[in-house]
Subunit: 187 residues, 2 copies
Amino acid sequence: MARYRVGLETRERILAATRRLLSEFGIEGVTLKAITDQARVGAGSFYNLFDSKDDAVFEVVREAIDAVDPDPAGVGSDSLADLVDAFVAFMTGSSPIARIYLQLAGRGLTDPAIAARVLRSHRRRVERFADAWQREEPQLPPEEAERRAELMLAALTGLGMTTLMDPSFDMRRHAQGLLPASATAAR
Amino acid sequence: MARYRVGLETRERILAATRRLLSEFGIEGVTLKAITDQARVGAGSFYNLFDSKDDAVFEVVREAIDAVDPDPAGVGSDSLADLVDAFVAFMTGSSPIARIYLQLAGRGLTDPAIAARVLRSHRRRVERFADAWQREEPQLPPEEAERRAELMLAALTGLGMTTLMDPSFDMRRHAQGLLPASATAAR
DNA sequence: TACATATTGGAGTGTACGCTCCATTTCTGC
DNA sequence: GCAGAAATGGAGCGTACACTCCAATATGTA
């Protein structure tokens, strides 16, 4: 839709505003007026660039889901500790995306379309954690590795929720407790 | 507000409708019209019994938060396995309350008032899990017991989210993996 | 039975929302 | 520099929402 440079810039301003509102006030805090005020743009400009309000929201939401896996193409050379670190950094970092991701998971409880997307990215992540477990303990049966990966991610998600609600919560310390003794010792 | 029998019954019908809508369609699925249609009640009757729509919603929400702890008065004689079982049963049971509880946690990410409530009930639950760990392994330092309790609850919360999004997910089996070998063997 | 008060449904109100329309301005390739 | 297309702001539209108002009716009490 956008063909000229100014249009593309405006598009970015709108997405930035949507990102900010989404993380700070949640899905119901994102109104068209809020977006256009924040982006300093008229409604007409918005609809020149997006088909609907949800169009912009979904774009940000897609970002959020993908961002949990910082290296989707990675063939999987990361260690367990690296993966845990990356997850913790994502949750405790200043990016609004983490908040959006967890809110989204909550929304997935009632919206099947969102649930499907969230689950798909979840599965991918479980795979990567399972691979890392295998590398950590090569004698582990694949099934057991996957079981542990699932538990680890569940715990990280739960810790993430706590840390976003309670800024004084030390997620990194707690997350270290998820690593096997071998990985912890190696740090 | 309700003084006569019929009024109290209507109140219950309204709360049941709110509960159902909340769990099935999420917070944004709860409109006044939806509630009054579902409860087969006019708007006037609703406002005769509740101060606002949110009044009814919060009542249900309070239920949901409390329901995670089935025995709040329990001095803590439950075993770890019992507590895990109770949590799993709560999540996988047919009650809409579990869905509401997790949606609520998601909402807590942007609403400080809700975050405070959720965190408070979370802390209570961590205490109970920590006590159970102490009973399971009496030589455990209290700090370590609390650390493990926190991780366990985080994992249960994460598994709960997955299981609510993916009905084919076997939460019970995964949750068993959280128990120490001693508790598992004793089952 | 008679009275006071609680309960009822639903038409009506004000407001906030997503979105359209369009006259005006800005941009870019030639 | 010009022409044609893109970008812009904001007034205005239709709709859905939470909530009010009130006349009619049901309920409990003495």
